[in-house]
Subunit: 170 residues, 4 copies
Amino acid sequence: MKPSVRKQIGVIGAGICSSETRALAEAVGKEIAKKGAVLLCGGLGGVMEAAARGAKLEGGITLGILPGACREEANPWIDIAILSGMGHARNALIPQSSDALIAVSGEYGTLSEIALGLKMGKPVVLLESRWKIEGTESAKSPLEAVELAFRLIEDGTKRKLRRGIETNEV
Amino acid sequence: MKPSVRKQIGVIGAGICSSETRALAEAVGKEIAKKGAVLLCGGLGGVMEAAARGAKLEGGITLGILPGACREEANPWIDIAILSGMGHARNALIPQSSDALIAVSGEYGTLSEIALGLKMGKPVVLLESRWKIEGTESAKSPLEAVELAFRLIEDGTKRKLRRGIETNEV
Amino acid sequence: MKPSVRKQIGVIGAGICSSETRALAEAVGKEIAKKGAVLLCGGLGGVMEAAARGAKLEGGITLGILPGACREEANPWIDIAILSGMGHARNALIPQSSDALIAVSGEYGTLSEIALGLKMGKPVVLLESRWKIEGTESAKSPLEAVELAFRLIEDGTKRKLRRGIETNEV
Amino acid sequence: MKPSVRKQIGVIGAGICSSETRALAEAVGKEIAKKGAVLLCGGLGGVMEAAARGAKLEGGITLGILPGACREEANPWIDIAILSGMGHARNALIPQSSDALIAVSGEYGTLSEIALGLKMGKPVVLLESRWKIEGTESAKSPLEAVELAFRLIEDGTKRKLRRGIETNEV
């Protein structure tokens, strides 16, 4: 009954995008749900909607952190809506709440979330990115992106554990 | 497969409280889960933990919006953790994201959330409150608090619909 | 040339108010400027505008922390505008950035700032308040409110210093 | 007595940097003060401290928007400190409150502010940047950076005015 802590994976990308990008985002959402993780996103259209749709089609759980204050702005595939009412400052909440980020293409808003994720020390995987940013990893397919994200989370946990053992914290 | 929009009920109260207050909060959490709503809270101890525990014991979904940036600070009954990293400013996120608020006892932090909820036009139900604040409703039991919250949400929706009909917006 | 650290006093109150309340707020703003402190407020109309006007008439410095993202929303007496774009969450920024708060009358938004100020351990002085909240102090005039605020700041500083001396931190 | 609206220029960059970068930032701060604009920054060390120092040496006004909640964390050249207590989410406040941004070198935090500034439609000038990002402008010296920032602000204002005239809004 106690919740086992599910991984939370943030999918970030633009609110308006091509159908090819939508297809990639939906496939990313599906893989995240298949792995039993919660999908976090910005709750709006484009990449956010496609990823949430993918996750729901596989029976996953989706959470949208919206910039505005209206439930009606959430796309129809969002289970739980956080209405931040905070505008652009909400861009800090998705990286902060995610164990790893997957960026599918993306514009300036996405770039700000990538940068914040890196600053917070989160794994960041790029799919079809127009930017090259040191510290991120690139994937060639939705499946590779999700597997890479999970591997990087695990590596980070092991690193922390090892450090704990060496310093007698564990 | 598409998510039906579940109600989101915020339970607010202090991080340290008496066992009587904990029992009330747990009962509130149970009633919220029985009605199929998502329980939102601040994710920490005291009232937040008791309410989340109640909801999980009834198979509900729980979401914690934490002031800090560490998953480990969430109580063990939180399914999904929003790590706001925003300190006290996170107090605006719970009222904004809730269809109604139920305050169980509470200190200054709770008072700020009650006030913000009222400012946002949300129904606010008080249980065992030390404050009397116009615009809030009082309940005598956890069951009454939850039923009152749902009734007030419904009244608000009807009022909006009626206004829409009168003004030809619907 | 190095800035001496000026006190920062937050004046909070509603965006729409009576002319009597405006007069009180303007007098509060004047006293703050006379004491060489910076006036912080929400940057909009009503109490915020009157207090900022008072401070400017005495040659003081005024700072408005606005909920929106447009400079044009600031009242004409604001020297520096912080455009938070954060909506109601900006209500945490004024108490956090103030050495003391003075509430002039006020509605729910003001109540949320009073509560957050108390939670943060800041001195809170009420003038013409409709609420009685333990932990706050009441004043009978603008001059008394400002003098009380400064005295409470000084007492807090002394208390911290004394604690530091006792625990050898200073 | 009424405040003339001063331009607000945000200077962004890392909290730890080389002495060459510090020298550039200080020169940027000086030019901003000479032009009578308010300098906005993150209030901490490195680029933020050097820029604020430069502005104060020329008699300017400096404002720091800090991630934390302690006045003591501000560098000694900050006149007014906004204690956001919001952690990384404060990175949205500097671009939002600035008429233009000047980035001096910088790390991931700076990149997030550049991206948010571009998303908000603000002019962004880069000095000694390791990133090439479309939509930004590059400068070769502190003086050129500040002059470019002011020119871009003016161009934006003219563009808005012209649009207003064409659409009869003015």
